[in-house]
Each structure stands twice: as structure tokens, then as C-alpha cells.
Symmetry: C2
Subunit: 322 residues, 2 copies
């Protein structure tokens, strides 16, 4: 199996440079001076999540014949919107298969971007998408299990290395593993002194369990969907898992309460709206300090597509952190 | 009266470059394609507001003797935190006079930055601050009525011109007028084809009334404090007003309902937490389209220091825009 390398990521950065926002590293004046925190707010991307990077990189590689037959994607939401957004920009027809437990917000947003939406149970997404590909001759754009998608997400790591070359700790959410794989490759190549940690909800902690077991273990989808972090309910593929074992220094887990506290703190102190999945890296910074090296830390906020009512509830509750 | 010019702003940019965040222009995929909107999120600055720019530029100009005697500032909140933050970074003692109607959040945040806080009624702030200056030999850092402060805020305009040279419309909140003055000078010098509009709450619309009257009119403080936009309750000085008449194409007003709708939309669609004052420029984009030229628009989000309970209430209410 050939792993993505930093040259692939540099190529991706050239391809997608004009199409995605170069997000800043936002310094946190309220963070521990011994472990100053910067946030990488991928929530500010056009569709509210980092996924535009991988989707754009994958679409940019399609031939004219492939473009004419359209693309198909399946996703718990943010990848859906990312493919729909990139496809609209490239004038390609997109069909998105979404699980029927995804928030209404994400389904509506995908339709508004001009994509056809097909709703199915979580464990049937891959099969339904494969059926559409066979039937139409369309190209599947997977949410994480593809070198171009991994390389696209890795451009976040290039930007971190450029803006904060002496970073000591990078915290990245892990679900399907494409984001952590890409960032891990970039950071390990460009900032060899930095530690890269994946972060998962305890309730979807299959990759942490895999690292503890020394081989990939699989959790039933029914277990993984228990977390409030609806963007972190997938599991790594063989390809992404191989990148994770090659590049991550470890995988941390955070509780549901800690995720909610991080969402509240990001809104209150950093003025950023994060979805629960987007807040897990910040939660690890806040609540797993004893497991992390000292020095400059970056937490990647992977997305901001939270139901406004949920955010309102979290903000109206008692302060839980910070 | 000498007005600030673009050279002063370039000098400010060199002085404060390392101390403030260079905020991105965030594109809004949900905006009208005929009037694409970019947001300039100054809410992401370390103290949650643009005010760090002017404060840093003013402090950077102090002599050693001045530094030893400390600084004094008065403010409805964000300038207070900005001076406290910049003073801590420069190891200068800061005393901040805050009006007793300011949100608790802003008072606490100022104390946490190491400043001494003195609470007084809104209309006594200037006198109390002047008394402290006389008594201690300290230097007053005014919130807007100073060329160095105006030039510091103007660095936002430099960045807009650099990132979007063909901008057609720039929308900026107006209260004391330092922000709009600085941005107006920069944009008119660098993007002569762009229109710059000030935006006020109707309930604190004294500058719009002044533009309509052809001379500055003054509203009682008791009127100006009616708006929910607690950051926009001041009025321009002679110095800032002279900049506004020289550089603004007009001043628009927005209603309290429109301000709340813009706060909700920024959180829901742009994933940014804006305080009411920070949302007025976006409200003008949303609700005053017929009064604006077509083409690329930038709305400056001046700050994000909203009470979390208020944001929760706004998000839990019925959708009001977008």
C-alpha cells in the first residue's frame, strides 16, 4: 500500500489554493502560557467544514468523460456538502447518499447546493452509493478512503507548519481518519519535533481502542452513533488506518460532557461556532493536558455545522469550562 | 485639523504586525452572487474585538517615562480590554474606567487581564479618567479620539484592500467613529472605486442624523444607550467626525430586530459569534441591499463579546433571516 507523502500534499495545495479559504491560526489569549493554544478554524470554510479541501482535490483530478457522468458521495453530512459545493463550482452533477440520522440542517444545506440527496440507514450508505455508481457510470468520491482526499485534507498541516513552525502538539479529530492522516503526514514531514494526536469521543473510541490493542478493532455502527459528535461516527479504512499508525503519536478520547464544554468555551472565548465533532480537539487540550507535551499547541476545529437549537441549549446551560 | 492619512496607517501596520491577528476575508457561499459578501472577523482578535489594533498602536508610541506612570482608558468595554491586553503585553500598569451599564462579561474580562477597573455612570467616564490622569501623571489612551488609534484601526482597511482589491462596498459599524475613520481613509486611498458606508443602530443613529443635517448633531447619552448594541453607544469626536465626512459615502441605520437577525445568521451560516455591535454591518448587507451598489461587499464584524445567555436566546428563537 502506497501512503500519501508530503509531495502529494504540496500538489494538492497548488490545485485547491484558489478554491478554499486559507484559515488563520487564531491565538487564544485565555490559554495556559506554558501551553499556548492556537485554533485552526476549518469551520470557516464555505460549507462550514474542512471537507472542501479533500473534495476539491479529488474533483480536480477527474477527466472530462468522468465529469460528464457525474459524481456520487456518501457521508454523515459535511463531506456531502463539500462534494455538492465543489461539484457545483466545477459544473458537475452530484448525488449524495446521507444517513437518515444526520441533522436536518446538513441535509437541507446539501440540497440547497444543488445536489440530489438520497436518504438511507447508516449501514447501507456504501452499498447504495456503489449501486448508483454501477447504474450511472458515475465516479464515487469517498469521504476519506482515497489518496486525493487524504492529500487535500493534509493541506491543513502545510498551513500549520508554515504559520507555526515550532509547534509542539497538534490535536486532530479522528473518525474515518482522512483528516488526521493528511495532517499527520504533513506535520511529521515538516515539523519533526511536533507530536500529533488523534482525538475521538469516548463513545466512538474505536481508533483509541485499536491503538491500545496494536491492531485495528471494529465497533458496531450502533455503538459509534451514540456520541453527540455526529461527524465522528465513521471508522478508519485500511488506507487511513495505515497512515494513522505511521504518523500519530497517540489517540485520546473525551467525554460527551467535555465535548459540550468545549463547544461552549469556543463560542464564549474564541467567538467560534464549532459542531461537537469540531470541538473534540479543543476538549483534549482542555481536559487531557497531563497526557500532552508542553509547548505550543494547535487544535483543529474541523467544522461548525451545529444545530442552532443545540448551540443555544449548550450556551444557556451553566458554564462548564474555562 | 490634520487628518490621518494612508502613510500613518502603513506605519501602524508595521508597528502592530506581530501583536494582532491578520484576520482573513471569509467568503459567504450563501450570499447573493450579484453581491458576493466577505466577512472581516475582527471578533477573532485576542480580546474579541478590533480595538487591539488602535490600542497597540497608541501604546507603541509611548516614551519610557510615560510607560512608568501607566495608562488610563475609558470605554464601554472592548477598548477597555484592548488597552488592558496591550498594556499587559508591554508591561505597563493600566487603569480602566468602565460605565456601570456595561455587560458583566466585559468587566470581568478586563480585570482578568490584570487591569484596575473603576465603575462609574456612562456620562462621568471622561471626567473620572481625566482625574486619574491628573492625579497620577498617567497617559490617557482614548477609545477613538486620537490619530494613533484611528491609524491602528485603519490597518483593517489595508488588509481588505490587499485581499480584495476590486471590492465595491465596505460596511463598517460607527459609534465613536475611529474604526470607520481609519478604514475609510485606507479604502479611499487604495480602492478609489469602492464605496464605504458607516452603519448604526436606529436607536443610536446620531451620525446618520448628522449626515442628513449636514453638520454634526448630538443625541443625549440616555437615547444612545437604548440599543442592544452596547458597543455602539458613543458618538464621534470632532476629529473622527471630520474623517467620516471626508471618507464615507453615507451612513445606514438598522433596527434592533435586524441586528438580532444578523447575529443569528452569522452564527448559523458563517459559524462566527458576533456581538450586536459587531453584526450591524452584516445587517445592513442583508436588509439595506437596495441602498447599496452591486458588486463585491465586505462587512466588518467589529467584535464578538456577546453575553452567552443572549446569544443562546437569539439562537433559540425563531429563524429571522437567511
Amino acid at each position: 500500500m502506497r501512503l500519501v507523502n508530503v509531495s502529494d500534499i504540496h500538489i494538492a495545495a497548488e490545485r485547491i489554493g484558489g478554491a478554499v479559504l486559507r484559515t488563520p491560526l487564531v491565538p487564544c489569549a485565555w490559554s495556559d502560557p506554558d501551553r499556548p493554544l492556537w485554533l485552526k478554524p476549518e469551520s470557516l470554510q464555505a460549507i462550514g467544514a474542512f471537507k472542501v479541501r479533500g473534495a476539491h482535490n479529488a474533483l480536480a483530478a477527474l477527466s472530462r468523460a468522468q465529469r460528464e457522468k457525474g459524481v456520487v458521495a456518501y457521508s454523515s453530512g459535511n463531506h456531502a456538502q463539500a462534494v455538492a459545493y465543489a461539484a457545483r463550482a466545477e459544473n458537475i452533477q452530484a448525488t449524495i447518499v446521507i444517513d437518515d440520522t444526520a441533522p436536518e440542517l446538513k441535509i437541507t444545506a446539501t440540497r440547497e447546493l444543488g445536489a440530489e440527496v438520497v436518504l438511507v440507514p447508516l449501514d447501507q450508505r456504501a452499498q447504495v452509493a456503489a449501486g448508483l455508481v454501477a447504474e450511472r457510470g458515475a465516479t464515487l468520491i469517498p469521504p476519506f478512503d482515497h489518496p486525493d482526499v487524504i492529500a487535500g485534507q493534509g493541506t491543513i498541516g502545510l498551513e500549520i507548519a508554515e504559520d507555526l513552525p515550532d509547534v509542539r502538539v497538534v490535536l486532530v479529530p479522528v473518525s474515518g481518519g482522512g483528516l488526521a492522516a493528511g495532517i499527520g503526514v504533513a506535520i511529521k514531514a515538516l515539523c519533526p519535533g511536533a507530536a500529533v494526536y488523534g482525538v475521538e469521543p469516548e463513545l466512538a473510541g474505536d481508533t483509541a481502542a485499536s491503538f491500545a490493542a496494536g491492531e485495528q478493532v471494529h465497533w458496531p455502527a450502533a455503538d459509534r452513533i451514540r456520541t453527540i459528535a455526529d461527524g465522528l461516527r465513521a471508522e478508519p479504512s485500511e488506507l487511513t488506518y495505515a497512515h494513522l499508525t505511521a504518523t500519530l503519536d497517540g489517540v485520546l478520547t473525551v467525554s460527551e460532557r467535555e465535548i459540550r464544554a468545549a463547544v461552549a468555551l469556543l463560542a464564549r472565548k474564541a467567538k467560534l461556532v464549532a459542531e461537537p465533532a469540531g470541538a473534540v480537539a479543543t476538549a483534549a487540550y482542555l481536559f487531557r493536558a497531563s497526557q500532552l507535551p508542553r509547548g505550543s499547541a494547535v487544535a483543529v476545529i474541523s467544522g461548525g455545522n451545529i444545530d442552532p437549537g443545540l448551540l443555544g441549549d449548550i450556551l444557556s446551560g451553566e458554564p462548564t469550562a474555562g
